[in-house]
């Protein structure tokens, strides 16, 4: 199993953090363009899922899967969006993202008084984030 990469967006669609581990194929566009494209797609899928859903959906969009990889999406009630690409065999990724939110994001970004809502530059956060991803069972 493996984790390919991770995007974190705020509620306005700004890319707050990007992390990459096992990514063999690059998109060929700049990181900024890629982030915009990614956010635009997520935004569209989200509203599509909500519109088309035949019942009142509580969680909305959760993930999609191709035959090579799966993209998992977790949005907090405060609008922070965590997006992680894994291989197709990974399970309970949603719980993993919730853990990431409470143990890494809240601890090392929200509780850092120097962070003002802009893309995260803290080295401590980057280090902890990397550690957290690498020690997960999915990473291996």
């Amino acid at each position: 199993m493996t984790i390919h990469n991770l995007y974190i967006f705020d509620k306005y669609g700004t890319l707050l953090h990007y992390g990459e581990w096992n990514r063999i194929k690059q998109s060929g566009i700049t990181k900024e363009e890629e982030a915009k494209l990614m956010y635009g797609m997520l935004f569209s899928i989200k509203s599509f899922v909500n519109k088309i859903s035949p019942t009142d959906s509580k969680d909305g969009f959760l993930y999609y899967k191709t035959n090579k990889y799966a993209l998992h999406y977790y949005e907090t009630p405060s609008g922070i969006r965590f997006v992680i690409n894994t291989d197709t065999a990974s399970t309970s990724v949603k719980e993993f993202l919730q853990q990431y939110y409470s143990k890494v994001w809240v601890e090392y970004v929200v509780k850092n008084p120097l962070w003002n809502g802009a893309p995260v530059t803290s080295d401590l956060f980057k280090q902890k984030s990397d550690e957290f991803i690498k020690q997960s069972v999915m990473f291996a």
Partner: protein, 178 residues
């Protein structure tokens, strides 16, 4: 690693330390600003900035979703007070349209050793709490109005914070989309 494990547990702090620290902050502000209204405004602003961050901690600990109505919101606020200040406010005085309610405190940990001198009787000593509620709810797309209607420091029997729902904020859309 030691640092990490000690940081991640929610630590218990003696409430007297918080009470006295908060008291020092308020008295410093009274010295810094001549005007009481300015102090009230700044306390509310500090609270707002705290609420904006505190909501993330609350959400990550409780794993709660967005509120669908104000009753749920009231329960969550009550739960948050229990979590952060270890007091359990009573929720009551619902407006007929259930868009307005009161949080009633029998004890308020922030005012434990406090007496208000007569010349600052217009000071909203705990204004930080209102700011905090407002800031936190704004992050989950709820705009509310929040104010003190009763205050033990001003001779009332209990402390009462009134929360009024104004509107649900719109989810942000990326630039160029509708």
């Amino acid at each position: 690693m030691a640092r990490q494990s000690s940081r991640l547990e929610s630590k218990k702090v003696n409430s007297e330390l918080l009470t006295l620290t908060y008291g020092a902050l308020v008295s410093q502000m009274l010295r810094d600003f001549e005007n009481l209204e300015e102090v009230n405004k700044q306390l509310e602003r500090i609270g707002y900035n705290m609420g904006v961050r505190l909501i993330e901690d609350f959400l990550s600990r409780t794993n709660s979703g967005r509120c669908l109505d104000m009753r749920e919101t009231a329960d969550k606020i009550q739960q948050a007070f229990k979590m952060y200040l270890n007091v359990q406010p009573t929720i009551s005085n619902w407006a007929a349209a259930t868009d307005e309610f009161s949080l009633i405190f029998d004890v308020n940990p922030l005012t434990e050793f406090v007496e208000l001198p007569a010349d600052v009787s217009n000071l909203r000593y705990c204004g930080i709490l209102c700011g905090c509620i407002r800031g936190a709810l704004e992050m989950v797309q709820l705009e509310v109005q929040c104010q003190f209607v009763q205050d033990q420091l001003k001779g009332d029997a209990s402390t009462e914070i009134r929360v009024k729902f104004i509107r649900r904020l719109q989810d942000a859309t990326p630039a160029g989309e509708d």
